[in-house]
Each structure stands twice: as structure tokens, then as C-alpha cells.
């Protein structure tokens, strides 16, 4: 279980004399084992910051983060990360990238080949084992990054807009793909996105964040049946959730019809 309690992160002002920036403000959140939680919000609302805190790249100014009752103080393999920026290593092949976590853990490049082969197959990367990352399409690169995170069997999978750079069709393929993997391995997932539909499609719960300062505005439990089909986005229930989230994210001036008139 992940427990985020009253966590704030403040960045000092980047210009002289400016005000410090509150990137994450008093966030409370618990994520159960095996749960799929998505975090949705506009650009700059502190999603990446929250994920960096969970990963242990940065320390909160206030509050505390615990995983299974142990405080998170540094990055570690029990909390694997799929990054927003491309982060595959171009000096390694697809196979070596996937095996990277095992290579580091076991201190040798000679790691369990059968396990890697089966991961390659699960990820639909057969035939590309010896390609370099830059020889793959964007969707395949993300699959390699996910494979690299999953192969070490982390307790938690932290994903930062992993499909943000993909076209609509590839993205929805990748969503179904991620759900099928999750159905098999059931890791705890914290998935950051700015796409409201993606957030609902994947989640058990959706955390809605708003910017300046970065706060949790609402948490919705999504009780749509699994497995979720592609046409779910057209259903009435789905759009009910979507309406609720958009209502929270709506820019403030539009909330007041008098000022519009």
C-alpha cells in the first residue's frame, strides 16, 4: 500500500525576487495493492512532481510518503518508473534495455534469457530483440520501456504520460495492451495523464488535480466493468464520469454565467 500524507513540494523561485512555486500542495492519497489509479490534470498541475516524489527522485518539503509502512527516501527497484521523456538507452539493443534492471541487480550481462524472451513475446516485440531503440516506432519504444519496468516485478509501477506522444489509434492500442498486462500481473499502478478519457478508461480510481497550487480537487471511483472494450467511451456511464471530471477541470471564469453575459 502506498500512503501519501499531507505532502507538499515547493520549488524556490527561478527568478530573483520571485515567489517560490508550490508545485504540490498538501496531497493526501492512498493506493491499495493491485489498484490502478490514474492522475489527471492540466499541464503544470504537479503530476510529474508528485510522481518524482513517489519515485524518490525528490523529497517533499512537508508530509511523508510510505510504501508498506517504510518511508520512501530514494529511488529503488520496488517502484519502477516509465518516464514522460524518452529514456531508453540507445547504446543497448531492445533486449539489453529490457534486461537492464536484471543486469544491474545481478551484476552481469548474462541474465535469465528465457524470462527476457517471454517478456519480449508478451510485449509483442518478437523480431525486434536486436534492434536499437531509435529504430523502433514510438509505440514500440514505450512497450520496451514498460517491459523494462515490469521485468523486475516491482511492487509499484509509476507511469508518467507514457502514451502522451502517440497518435490516437496507437494510444488506444497501447491502453488495451497495458490493461491486458495488468490483468495478468496485477502490479499496483499510478498512471499520470492529461487525457481525461484515458484516465477513466484505465482506472479503478481517478485522481483529479488542479494547478496553482497543485492540489487534488477530486477522487472518483470508476466502477465500470472489466475487461473494458474500446466502445466503452461511447457509453452513457463513461460520459457521466467524463462530465464530472471536466466539471472539476473547467476554467474558473466559465463557472459564473453572469460574467460571461
Amino acid at each position: 500500500m502506498i500512503a501519501v500524507s499531507e505532502v507538499s513540494k515547493v520549488y524556490p523561485s527561478q527568478v530573483r525576487g520571485g515567489r517560490p512555486l508550490v508545485a504540490v500542495d498538501t496531497v493526501d492519497l492512498t493506493v491499495q495493492d493491485g489498484e490502478f489509479v490514474t492522475v489527471v490534470g492540466p499541464s503544470g498541475c504537479g503530476k510529474t512532481t508528485l510522481l518524482n516524489l513517489l519515485a524518490g527522485f525528490e523529497q517533499p518539503n512537508r508530509g511523508e510518503i510510505r510504501l508498506d509502512d517504510r518511508p520512501v527516501v530514494r529511488p529503488g527497484p520496488e517502484r519502477a518508473v516509465v518516464f514522460q521523456q524518452p529514456s531508453l538507452l540507445p547504446w543497448m539493443t531492445v533486449k539489453e534495455n529490457i534486461a537492464f534492471g536484471l543486469t544491474l541487480r545481478e551484476g552481469t550481462r548474462r541474465v535469465d534469457q528465457i524470462r527476457i524472451a517471454s517478456m519480449v513475446e508478451t510485449m509483442g516485440l518478437t523480431g525486434f530483440e536486436n534492434h536499437r531503440p531509435y529504430q523502433l516506432s514510438g509505440g514500440m519504444q514505450q512497450r520496451v520501456a514498460i517491459a523494462r519496468a515490469l521485468i523486475i516485478e516491482p511492487r509499484v509501477l509509476l507511469m508518467d504520460e507514457p502514451f502522451g506522444a502517440l497518435d490516437a489509434q496507437t494510444r488506444s492500442e497501447m491502453q488495451r495492451f497495458l490493461l491486458s498486462i495488468w490483468g495478468k500481473l496485477h502490479p499496483t499502478v499510478l498512471f499520470v495523464t492529461h487525457d481525461v478519457e484515458e484516465a477513466i478508461m484505465l482506472a479503478d480510481r481517478v485522481v483529479v488535480m488542479t494547478p496553482r497550487p497543485g492540489r487534488i480537487a477530486d477522487i472518483l471511483t470508476v466502477s465500470l466493468a472489466r475487461p473494458r472494450q474500446w466502445d466503452l467511451t461511447l457509453s452513457r456511464e463513461f460520459n457521466e464520469y467524463k462530465r464530472k471530471i471536466l466539471q472539476v477541470l473547467r476554467p474558473p471564469e466559465e463557472r459564473d454565467p453572469v460574467r460571461l453575459a
Binding site: 519515485a55 527522485f57 530514494r74 529511488p75 529503488g76 527497484p77 517502484r79 519502477a80 518508473v81 518516464f83 521523456q85 524518452p86 529514456s87 531508453l88 538507452l89 540507445p90 547504446w91 537492464f100 534492471g101 543486469t103 544491474l104 541487480r105 551484476g107 509483442g124 518478437t126 523480431g127 525486434f128 534492434h131 536499437r132 531503440p133 531509435y134 529504430q135 516506432s137 514500440m140 523494462r148 523486475i152 488495451r176 495492451f177 490493461l179 491486458s180 490483468g183 475487461p227 473494458r228 472494450q229
Partner: protein, 286 residues
């Protein structure tokens, strides 16, 4: 399951096809590159033709600017009977040896020093002022000191080349380390890399492209230093040959020296480029 195996297999086949198509277009690209090599040859031939034209219409007196044919004859003469007691091959060998020893010593010492400076502020603060102080000093200024300290033998030339090239190697290694991307360092942190693994799998490969660039610049600088060194205190070597020939007004021999310095410098660049392509195939792609 949402994601059917059949669909997956179809997609795989499609992607594999795509990738073989991509390889084809890659082949096409390299084929184009290959064709473009003619341009280099064309320019070389054009330059020689131009040179010949200038000599044919006597813009300069033949003693000041020998014709290509004359220089070709000089090349033949120096290769067979030698000049000033040394054959062309002797001179090439002597110069190349000096460059190779000085340059490799600079790489072998400079790369670790650069890495060390990048990883430790105290070391950086200790070495950087000395480095920046030495950098603007022209190599010619060192020569009297080199002769005094290391004599007129090989050692003084090795040391000079070493001093001329090592700053560039150190700086490129240092800035190479700093060019390692934050997200890649974080990947290794997540997987629990220790310092040694961090260096081996992230920092070193990240630094390689810049180190190669530094080496390519350094090898050209090494030649300019070498010629300076050989002009003061050497019997053999291409630089010494040029100086002697200049004093005896043998302009043809001067040309031979210039041409071979250029050719060997070019060859060394090509060698480094080839090694670079093999060791850093991802350069410019990620």
C-alpha cells in the same frame, strides 16, 4: 482478453514488414551517400587541374610554384633516393610515430582526468585553473623549454604533442560526462545502480560522442604542433623536411611535405571516424 493473440501476431508481421522496408530505405540512403563520394574526388581533380592551369600560364615563376607533374616527380625521387638523408617513408614514419605517441598518451591520461574532474568538485577546482592557464599558450612558446628539459631527441616532441592535445581531450571528456541525460541517470537509479554500474552503463556511453569529437579536433591540432616542433630540432620528419627544403628553395619538396601532412591528417580523421561509427552507432539519433 482484450488484446487477442491473433491481432498481436498480425501486427507483428506488419511491423516486421515495415522494419524491412525501413532497412531498404536505409540502404537507399547509404547508396546515395556513396554516390556523393564522387563529389570529393571531383573537387580533388578540379583543384589539381586548377593548380596545373595556374602553373601552365605562369602566374608565378616555376621556381616559386612547381607544376603538379614536377611535384609528382619529386615524390618519386624522395621515395626512392630520399632527401637530406631520409626517404619519404622515413619522414612519414618519424612524424606519425611522434603524433601517435603524444596523442595516445594524451587520450589515455586525459579521458580519466576529465571524468575525474566532472565527478569531483575539489579535483575540478584544482585542475581547471592550470588547464585554462596553459590552454592559450602557443605551442611554439614551449619549444625552447622542451629542448632544454627533454633535449632534442624524440622525448621533447612526444611531450609537446602531449601538451598540445591533452587540454582538448580533458575538456571533451568532462563535458561529455555532463551531457548524460537526467532521465537516463534516473533510470539507473531506479534499478539500484551502484557507482561503478552508473559509470559503465550510463555516464561512459553518454560521454563517448563528445570524446570522439574532442579526439578529432585534437588530432588536427597535433599536426600543427608537430610541424612547429620538427622545425626547431629535428632531422627527420615531414616538418623538418619542409624546413630544410624551404631553406634550399626546393619548393617542390615543400609541396610534397604539405601534401603528405594533409593526406595523413585526413587518413587519421577517417580512421577515428570509422572507429566512432562502430563504437557510437547511435550518435545523432538519440
Amino acid at each position: 482478453m482484450a488484446y487477442s493473440m491473433k491481432a498481436q501476431a498480425d501486427e507483428d508481421a506488419l511491423l516486421r514488414e515495415e522494419s524491412s522496408l525501413a532497412e531498404e530505405s536505409l540502404d537507399l540512403k547509404s547508396a546515395q551517400k556513396h554516390r556523393h563520394l564522387y563529389v570529393s574526388w571531383l573537387v580533388a581533380v578540379a583543384l589539381i587541374l586548377l593548380w596545373w592551369l595556374v602553373t601552365a600560364v605562369h602566374v608565378f615563376p616555376p621556381l616559386d610554384l612547381p607544376s603538379p607533374l614536377h611535384v609528382a616527380k619529386d615524390i618519386y625521387a624522395i621515395s626512392t633516393t630520399g632527401y637530406n638523408g631520409y626517404s619519404l617513408l622515413d619522414n612519414i614514419g618519424a612524424s606519425t610515430l611522434r603524433i601517435a605517441v603524444g596523442f595516445f598518451a594524451a587520450v589515455i591520461l586525459g579521458v580519466p582526468i576529465g571524468f575525474w574532474m566532472a565527478s569531483n568538485t575539489i579535483i575540478f577546482n584544482a585542475i581547471d585553473p592550470v588547464l585554462q592557464f596553459l590552454r592559450p599558450i602557443p605551442p611554439l612558446a614551449y619549444i625552447p623549454l622542451m629542448v632544454l628539459w627533454f633535449g632534442t631527441g624524440q622525448m621533447s616532441k612526444f611531450v609537446l604533442i602531449f601538451f598540445c592535445t591533452i587540454p582538448m581531450i580533458i575538456i571533451s571528456a568532462m563535458s561529455g560526462v555532463k551531457s548524460a541525460q537526467e532521465s537516463r541517470l534516473r533510470v539507473a537509479q531506479v534499478f539500484g545502480a551502484n557507482r561503478r554500474q552508473m559509470f559503465r552503463y550510463i555516464t561512459l556511453p553518454s560521454a563517448l560522442p563528445e570524446i570522439f569529437t574532442g579526439m578529432r579536433i585534437a588530432i588536427a591540432v597535433a599536426w600543427t604542433c608537430l610541424v612547429a616542433a620538427e622545425m626547431i630540432a629535428a632531422q627527420s620528419g615531414l616538418g623538418a623536411m619542409i624546413l630544410t627544403a624551404g631553406n634550399q628553395l626546393r619548393v617542390g619538396v615543400v609541396f610534397v611535405g604539405i601534401i603528405f601532412i594533409g593526406l595523413i591528417g585526413y587518413l587519421m580523421e577517417v580512421v577515428i571516424r570509422t572507429v566512432e561509427r562502430r563504437m557510437v552507432p547511435w550518435k545523432g539519433k538519440a
